[in-house]
Each structure stands twice: as structure tokens, then as C-alpha cells.
Symmetry: C2
Subunit: 278 residues, 2 copies
């Protein structure tokens, strides 16, 4: 079953919430955990345990594990494995990108069955062109994994690059979205593709040459809900008909509830996401 089909199933059964796993130093301290590989492992496993059966998707932020070197990566391996064993779809938020055999190596690391870092999907960056990612796109296709390519992001410094005009007249962000759409193999009508994009939940799509129609059949990973200012209730307004493709990604607004408040925070977010589907 393709990643897109598994995602569609998760949407249907547990909804569109994606729970971030971001064990940064401040959160570890407020959870009473050590700022160490042990701490990030414990943090990650607690989030997985709370999310399992309540939400369908988790997104570990790789940087917070990498901070602790190989020991942090060993912790991440445990978190990834436990999340997948619990039936959660796991998106490694790694934002990797390169060319040739190097980008293939990233695909081998994150998207290969049996790899210690195996996830269901990963985030990638196409500063070197979407074609630079061919090696990881092919691997994702072969192993029924997913990819989310950074397209239009919310941070204010991003717009100058992402709204630049290519010589073919397209905005950089819009060209990435269109090119990703082209990589989604035609599937049964109504099915989600396995290749999606990352789009900030506080941007104005039109500023980037985008509209809801740009995302037909494509999953949209939208970070920025809660802490970064986007409200979940605005999803239909922000994304229009593409709202049904959105992974509503929330991290700090859930994680700041602390270890004891985690389940309630996830439930509240799940309900809020479901409510805006009407």
C-alpha cells in the first residue's frame, strides 16, 4: 500500500493531526527530563505512547536528536521503531537534500525497509532543483514511502527566495509544487499521492503563485499551528478544497502541555481538527 493510500486511511480513521516530536532543550527541562540522549528518547517514547490510537501521524524533528550525536540517533531509532510498531505513520523531519549518490544515501537511510532510521516519509529540500532528488524519489516509489518537499514556508526571510521568478515565468515555490504534482503517479480517483509539499500555515498562497487547485491529489504538510500563529479553525479558509489533503502539524502547542497533559492536549487537537472538517 502506497504512502499516499496509508495516509488517506489514517485521515479517515484518526484524522489529519500530525503530532510533532520536538525535544528541544526548553521542553526537556519543562518535562523534567535530562538534556541528553536518554532525555530525548524518553520524551519521544512518551509522545509516541500518547499519540498511538489517538492521532495517526507523528513527525520527529531530527535536529533535536542529532544534537546528541550518535547516542541521540540511537534514541531516534527507538522512537521511530516504536512509533511504526504502534501503527503511527512517521514523517522524519530531516529536510535533507543533495545530488546523485549522496541524495540516494539519504533515501537509503530514511526510506529503506530494515534501515535503522526507517520512517514512512521524510521532508526534503530542492534548492538544487526537484530533479536533484530523483535518487530519493525513485527509492520512495520502490518502497511505498512518501516525501514532503519544502515549498512555501512561513518564516519572513523565506519569501524573497520562494517568490523569485524563474526564467519560465513560474515562482520558485509554485514550480516545486507543480513539479511534485507531476511526480505523483496516477492512482485511483480520489486517492492521495505519496509525494507532497511543506507549506506554512500562515502564508497567503497567492503570494507564492499558488492556489488550492495547485495541490490536487497532493498531501500538504502544514506546520505552524498553535505556537507559530496559525489557528486550526482557519484550515478550510487557508487551503479551500485542498484542506482535505492537509496534515495539520502541531508541536509546541501539544508538547508544552507536559508529560501529564499530553493525552488531553492531543485529544483536544484531534477534536479541533475534526471540527473544522465539518
Amino acid at each position: 500500500m502506497s504512502f499516499g493510500a496509508r495516509l488517506e486511511r489514517a485521515f479517515a480513521t484518526t484524522g489529519q493531526l500530525c503530532v510533532g516530536i520536538d525535544p528541544h532543550a526548553g521542553l526537556l527541562a519543562s518535562w523534567g527530563l535530562p538534556d541528553s540522549a536518554v532525555g530525548v528518547r524518553d520524551f519521544g517514547l512518551q509522545v509516541v505512547e500518547a499519540a498511538a490510537g489517538r492521532a495517526g501521524i507523528v513527525k520527529p524533528q531530527v535536529a533535536f536528536f542529532e544534537r546528541h550525536g550518535s547516542a541521540g540517533y540511537a534514541a531516534l531509532e527507538d522512537v521511530l521503531a516504536m512509533a511504526r510498531a504502534a501503527g503511527l505513520l512517521v514523517i522524519a523531519d530531516a529536510k535533507r537534500g543533495d545530488v546523485g549518490s549522496t541524495v540516494e544515501a539519504y533515501g537509503e537511510a530514511w526510506l529503506t525497509p530494515g534501515s535503522p532510521l526507517e520512517a514512512d516519509a521524510m521532508t526534503v529540500v530542492a534548492y538544487q532543483g526537484l530533479g536533484s532528488l530523483d535518487g530519493v524519489i525513485e527509492r520512495a516509489t520502490r518502497f511505498e514511502k512518501g516525501l514532503f518537499v519544502l515549498a512555501a514556508t512561513s518564516n519572513p526571510e523565506a519569501a524573497a527566495t520562494q517568490t523569485a521568478r524563474r526564467t519560465d515565468g513560474r515562482f520558485v515555490a509554485a514550480a516545486i509544487v507543480a513539479d511534485v504534482a507531476g511526480r505523483n503517479v496516477a492512482e485511483a480517483s480520489g486517492a492521495l499521492g505519496s509525494f507532497g509539499v511543506v507549506v506554512g500555515a500562515t502564508i497567503a498562497l497567492a503570494d507564492f503563485g499558488l492556489s488550492p487547485a495547485s495541490f490536487t491529489g497532493m498531501p500538504i504538510l502544514a506546520p505552524g499551528f498553535g505556537h507559530q500563529g496559525a489557528r486550526i479553525a482557519q484550515v478550510p479558509e487557508l487551503f479551500g478544497p485542498a484542506a482535505q489533503n492537509v496534515l495539520v502539524s502541531a508541536s509546541r502547542s501539544i508538547l508544552s502541555a507536559g508529560s501529564e497533559g499530553l493525552i488531553a492536549a492531543i485529544d483536544a487537537h484531534v477534536n479541533e481538527v475534526a471540527a473544522c472538517r465539518g
Copy 2:
């Protein structure tokens, strides 16, 4: 001593060659090493041993260690530590990028004294704008580390994005180079800054709105020599007066010499780089 000053010293004593450490599956096989964490560690340590005293700079490609998960990262930690202990400047070719506390975490991982993954510099990506990298730029400044921001790359799929025009009229690649130049703190006349860019050695600078003058005082990490088609003898022609700032990065053309031929291949490359300085 700043990274730029250490780089200038390396240029003066051992020249401008940067030896890639790219233990991909094909090279491991041809070296008779297992495709495992043990293999990449052995490969990396052999390159470090051969480069020490002959070249000044090494560049491990992180993806090939990440392929082996936390065990591969433990191998990378050994390679980084041994390289730094041998007096080599180490550039972690990680091409990381993100925003806020996430990009800070990457800086903590790679550019913090005492971190298990400590390097002297790392490569980063600014698809979200150079300002998105503030967290890692500040850390590099504080700990006298370096950064190389991906600017204009050689792969054919890259040009459409990197030559796109921003609303301020600048090409995406040229704006990154100019903005990086702006981050190089004014230092003693003639000194190299600590913030550089990655520029492919087979591009035409003008296609990206660049000229040798764009790189005044800025180190240029130029991959693509040897295997990817650029010839070392062309460095002065390609980069003009900025040739003196170029890290001539060669991987496969050195590493394909195999374990036994490694020292001779490094010496030959060092001599070739020195020859084109006249």
C-alpha cells in the same frame, strides 16, 4: 582564531585542496571494506591518516555515514575527532537548513566545542532565506566556526531555481552570495571571512549573476573537480582573482585510487592545485 584565519593558514601551509570523505557503497566495495558502520569508519580513518600532513582540509559527506544509522554516526564521530586531532580542518558536508530552534539545534550538533559531532565548519542550505540560518550563524561566530551556504551548484536541474529573479531584481544565487558577504565580520585586510559559499566548479558565474568580485574575502567551497568534469588547472580561469579563496574539493578522483594509491593521489592533487597558483 577564526575559521577564516585558520583556513588562510591552511592555504598557506598545505594549499587549497579539500579531500572528500565519501564512503559510498561502490567505493567501499572497491576498497575491500564491508558496507557497514565498521567499513565507513575504516574508510574515513584511512583517508584522514593519508591526508594528515599532506592536505589541510577534509570534507566528510554525512549522508554516507547516516546510511548506517546511529552506528554510522558513531563512526563519523571517530573520523571527525581523529581528523581534528591530526590538525586537519574538517567541513561536515551536511547541507542542513531549517528555522528557529531547529536550525540552532543543527548548530549545536556540528559547531559546538565538545559536541560529539564537532567539526570546524559545515555546509548549510538557505531555501528558507539566509535569515533562517541566523541561529547557526550566531553559533559559528561565537565558537569561531565556519559555514558554507549552498549558492550556485553544477547539477543541471539547479539552474532554474538558482537563477530565478527575486522581486529586488537579484538572482537567487547572487543574493545568497551577497548576503553571506554581508555576514563576514570585517577582519584584518586580506583575511578570509569565516562564512563562505558552495559554488560548483563547472558553472558559468555570469549565468547566476555572479563574478569573481562577488566573492571578495569569502571562502568558496568548489566541488566537482575530477569525477564531475572540472579540471583543477581551470581554477584561475573559472574564478579569476577569487581563485585564491577556493577550496578545491575532490572526492572520487582521489578515493578511486583505493587504499594503496591514496597517498600518491593526494600528493598529485596537492601538486596540481599548487601548480595552478603559479
